[in-house]
């Protein structure tokens, strides 16, 4: 285990060390101490290692993550795991705005609440939030899955494409072109697999509702010509 104390070591040195790791490295366990809300911690890691961060982090933690598992023992700032490609990011506390934005793969698990714009423009990432999510979440979400055990804020899934949204609690309002959809057997299976992957137990897939695109914004509709 390599322990790096950010009170003593500059952030850039930590990230350079992490960037040098290759597949097959023996240094698979990293611990980061005293993050104190600093930005861009463990951004751009591309190796199958685990980075455990002891405390709250600032903007863009674990952004562009590939392969690595990054665990934040605290809350995280805006843009957590932004554009993640693969691997796993776990936030034990709350996550700020636009967590998992534009993410292409991997799993983002937020054990607390996520703020506004969670999963905005997501493109294949799986996001599981144990608490609530804020307004404008999954805005223009393209593919991937967003699972919320709590409630969703205003304008969920506005202008959504083909991402799947599963919400257990209430939805304050749906955004343009986002509708509730039937939970067919394959969706129960899919959700069940997602919950298992996130290590969430004691929750039934029948407690969730599914939301997705009505596909009415896909093509220009001549009836709307007057609106322009």
């Amino acid at each position: 285990m390599r322990a790096i104390d950010l009170e003593k070591t500059p952030l850039r040195e930590l990230n350079e060390n992490l960037h040098q790791l290759k597949d097959g490295t023996n240094e698979t366990e990293w611990e980061v101490l005293n993050p104190r809300g600093q930005h861009a911690i463990a951004v751009g890691v591309d190796a199958p290692v685990t980075v455990t961060i002891r405390g709250p982090v600032g903007y863009y933690c674990a952004g562009m993550n590939k392969q690595a598992t990054v665990v934040v023992h605290g809350s995280s700032g805006p843009g957590t795991a932004e554009n993640m490609m693969s691997g796993k990011v776990i936030v034990k506390g709350d996550a700020s705005q636009y967590a998992g934005a534009t993410g292409r793969g991997g799993l983002l698990l937020i054990e607390g609440n996520a703020s506004s714009r969670c999963g905005i423009s997501m493109k294949g990432i799986d996001i599981v939030v144990k608490g609530n999510i804020g307004h404008m979440s999954a805005f223009m979400a393209q593919t991937g899955n967003l699972v919320v055990l709590g409630d969703a804020g205003d304008a969920l899934g506005d202008s959504i494409y083909e991402a799947k949204l599963f919400v257990r609690g209430s939805v304050k309002s749906l955004g343009a072109d986002c509708i509730e959809k039937e939970m067919r057997p394959e969706h129960h299976d899919q959700l069940s697999a997602l919950l298992k992957k996130a290590g969430v137990n004691g929750v039934k897939t029948s407690e969730f509702k599914r939301y997705g695109s009505a596909r009415k914004l896909y093509n220009f509709n001549i009836d709307n010509a007057d609106a322009y």
């Binding site: 104190r36 809300g37 600093q38 709250p56 600032g58 903007y59 809350s75 700032g77 805006p78 709350d94 700020s96 705005q97 703020s115 506004s116 804020g134 307004h135």
Partner: protein, 298 residues
């Protein structure tokens, strides 16, 4: 961008450390606003006495004679406490109008930054840690303080364009964001007798709240109204003699974090600003909800 910090102390034991804690918080927000910085500190007040914070581009010249000249004009005693380009004039509260008039006539380049029983306001162009050092923030005591680091977007980088803005007795406001209807609103407020020192959008927000509170609303109610009448992006932190308020616009893209313990309520644009506060590990830390007024009063 801009950075905001605020500290509202609940436990008297922490009051001597207000300046030190605020300076620490402000220093973490330099990158968010390197153009200029400012802070309002609510310190000790005595019944019947007032503080007028002044600023001069030529402090050596103006402040050398100011107290004597003012005393001659108003026929009473005042005390002047000079801190770099600023000075706090201590006077009786019934002398304020006469002093305002005397300063306007005798020292036209001296600006009044704030007036009240307990508020002192300091702001200057420069890197925030340098500005804090210039006014010795670290040694200031009091009940609550609000600080700002500015990255200018809507108006010029000048001392008067720095935050906080004070448009009413013991009131101040800092802003992260930009307002889109400030010109219309300024015109309406001018009709109602409000006066403006700058072309800055945040000053309009401050004056708006003062105007609402002059109508008899408390800070919380005035902030509720601001959600109806102000258009644009904003996170505001506002101080009054006894109160401390926070509000974000409905889109809420300007960052904000609040923390509360038995000892204090603290605001930061980011968690970094709060990381050095005592007991932060066990504080309740949360992001203020959009279009929701948060307001504490002692």
């Amino acid at each position: 961008m801009c950075g905001i910090v605020g500290l509202f102390i609940k436990d008297k034991a922490l009051e001597p450390r207000l300046g030190e804690l605020t300076a620490g918080m402000l220093a973490t927000m330099c990158e968010r606003g390197p153009d200029s910085a400012g802070f309002a500190v609510y310190g000790a007040s005595k019944a019947g006495e007032a503080k007028i914070t002044l600023q001069s581009p030529e402090p050596d010249e103006d402040f050398k004679t100011l107290a004597k000249v003012i005393e001659g004009e108003i026929g009473g005693k005042v005390k002047l406490d000079v801190k770099s380009t600023h000075a706090v004039l201590l006077c009786k509260d019934d002398q304020i109008d006469a002093i305002r008039k005397a300063i306007r006539e005798k020292f036209p380049r001296v600006r009044i930054m704030g007036v009240g029983e307990s508020i002192e306001i300091y702001k200057e162009v420069g890197y925030p840690t340098e500005v804090a050092k210039q006014f010795d923030l670290v040694h200031m005591k009091g009940t609550h303080a609000i600080g700002h680091t500015r990255m200018a977007t809507e108006s010029a980088v000048t001392t008067l364009g720095a935050h906080p803005f004070s448009t009413g007795s013991d009131q101040c406001l800092v802003h992260n964001g930009s307002l889109s209807n400030h010109n219309n609103l300024r015109r309406d407020l001018k009709h109602d007798g409000m006066t403006f020192e700058t072309a800055n959008d945040s000053e309009v927000a401050a004056a708006y709240l003062t105007w609402r509170m002059n109508q008899g609303l408390n800070l919380g109610e005035a902030l509720e109204k601001s959600l109806e009448d102000l258009d644009g992006f904003f996170t505001f932190v506002v101080g009054t003699k006894n109160g401390f308020g926070v509000v974000r616009d409905p889109i809420a893209c300007k960052p904000a974090v609040l923390a509360e313990t038995d000892q204090y309520v603290a605001f930061g644009s980011e968690f970094r600003a709060l990381a050095g506060l005592p007991g932060i590990e066990n504080a309740k830390v949360w992001e203020p909800e959009p279009a929701t007024v948060y307001f504490w009063e002692r």
